[in-house]
Symmetry: C2
Subunit: 338 residues, 2 copies
């Protein structure tokens, strides 16, 4: 690999001058600048990023911790982050926490050891304690949370208004005439499963429908199979249910599959609304009415906030934490009556 020294020797000038010439410092003569540039190009010089990092104390690299990569929403987020980062000359190291708190902690440590310029994270479902996150913040490494966040932590965040979106979905079920509306909710921990539940409940209350806790099913792994399982359970427990709002598309698709199998007509007998708008939701039959969760946008915004913080930190400005809440839409398809 070619170094500054070799270019300097080639031209019989000093390393300092070569370095300055390549960085377009104005205090180098035009002639020298041109000469250096040409020689560098000829020798295919590339700055040794290890040395640059050491000197400048930044790596132009950020870390990303995500619960699960093979997931339509999260992979869209990753894409949004990477595309935006590339524009600003940043590279992204991706790690998967597998919804495990222990792994997440280790990975935060790893990234800090690597001295990334900043961290983007969506919390694991298993994460109840935020000490590892506070430590990052205390060390003044910029960190932005997205999607699965911790409300108590003071840092920038990008989310959707889960509560509002769930409210919108439930309201729609009420508007099309549903009287007994069930809800499949996510585990007790990630904030968004709480918020979606609260939105559901609020919509009922606002429409003078008495909240019946036996209509709410608490799921664990949010899988296709769990969707089938609880759909079956629901049919056994409550034959009068005519609408259901489900925490996430995959589970909703499982539920619809179970309804199909049991000869229950969707939407004639039961109206189903999911959440996330996975690509899959549009190709199943009946296609799924759902809330569109803008993953790509979320990724882009999360990176933008992080980038701003990295710049501000460099300029020793005070960092102002920001909260970006992205809009969601209800996408009406065949799984609900029109």
């Amino acid at each position: 690999m070619v170094t500054l020294k070799q270019i300097a020797e080639e031209l019989g000038i000093s390393i300092t001058t070569v370095s300055k010439a390549l960085k377009e410092y104005p205090d180098v003569s035009k002639k020298t600048r041109k000469l250096v540039r040409e020689t560098a190009a000829m020798l295919n010089y590339k700055p040794n990023s290890f040395a640059v990092n050491l000197r400048t104390k930044e790596s132009k690299t950020i870390g990303l911790i995500i619960p699960e990569i093979v997931h339509h929403f999260f992979s869209s987020v990753i894409k949004g982050i990477i595309s935006q980062a590339e524009k600003k000359g940043y590279l992204v190291i991706t790690l998967q926490s597998n919804e495990s708190y222990e792994l997440e902690k280790k990975q935060i440590d790893l990234l800090i050891s690597k001295r990334v310029d900043g961290i983007l994270i969506s919390l694991a479902n298993g994460t109840a304690d935020y000490k590892h996150i506070s430590e990052v913040l205390n060390q003044e490494t910029p960190l932005v949370m997205f999607d699965k966040i911790a409300k108590v932590i003071k840092c920038s965040k990008v989310t959707i208004d889960d509560r509002k979106a769930a409210y919108k979905a439930t309201q729609y079920l009420i508007d099309i005439g549903c009287k007994r509306i069930a809800h499949f909710r996510g585990p007790l921990l990630p904030q968004n499963s709480i918020d979606r539940f609260l939105g559901y409940k609020q919509a009922l209350t606002d429409n003078n429908i008495i909240y019946d806790s036996s209509l709410v099913y608490l799921l664990n792994d949010m899988s296709f199979d769990e969707g089938k399982f609880y759909a079956n359970q629901l049919l056994k427990d409550h034959s009068d249910v005519d609408g259901i709002f489900i925490n996430t598309d995959l589970v909703a698709i499982g539920a619809i599959s179970e309804f199909n199998n049991q000869g229950i007509k969707v939407p004639e007998q039961i109206n189903v609304i999911g959440f996330s708008n996975w690509f899959m939701a549009s190709v199943i039959s009946p296609s799924l009415t759902t809330i569109n969760q803008p993953g790509f946008e979320m990724g882009k915004n999360a990176f933008k906030l992080l980038y701003k913080e990295i710049k501000d930190k460099k300029k020793k400005k005070v960092i102002n934490y920001k909260n970006i809440v992205l809009e969601t839409d209800l996408i009406i398809r065949e799984s609900t009556k029109s």
Copy 2:
């Protein structure tokens, strides 16, 4: 951030000794070793990876270039790579080429500039020229290709036997009684779309079915909509077709959707086989018979090969290129007659 120097000062010993103690060199007394370890832990010392990289000339980081992240197969590959890399203490920088040759070239350059220890790549469909890849190899940066590879390039590769898999799928259609079998193939460039086509053709020939080129449709973007479009075209052109082997699941799902819309019964009138076994294939109706393409395994294997090459390079051993061909299975579901 704590440095070796601070630990040394704290204990009144030299930086050299601190460094050696932390790396468990045997020529440091047990007592000193213990003392240093404790002090380091107390001060929460973390080696500055920038300095370590500069000294050791390695970053324990690899680059990954993938055509598209939001894609069930590729995201599985990414997951396989990252999980395996983590085990070996490597981090992964992911870049998306968007199927563009220009972007791919730039990204290779970026990764080389960052001095990653190795590169993993699945070629963009737009890549016809492999100079950028050869350059990496000439510079002796380990590089392993997977899935979409270039046969002419000499390097390690992980693939499936696309030809054999396509043959298997087509043979199955023949076995269940199909007489007129169409094929939706991918663009002319990625090797695997060629191989899948050749497997299809070979199966016909081996079964004394005359190959009819008008039954083969050349697709471009391999989308859901293209699947619908060509399904419609196929029905117009060849009302006698009773089976179709389609290059990838997404297109097959589009085709099935079109058949459904037009009242063509799958599999009664047309048997459909896809390729890849996206998760989606199992949840649509009718569920899709397809070839299982082991993405996670492919990622794992690709990293393993790369890791071996990185180690061998460090030991100045000659690098032996390897070709790993993974097994595929035909997953029989409802879109084909039993």
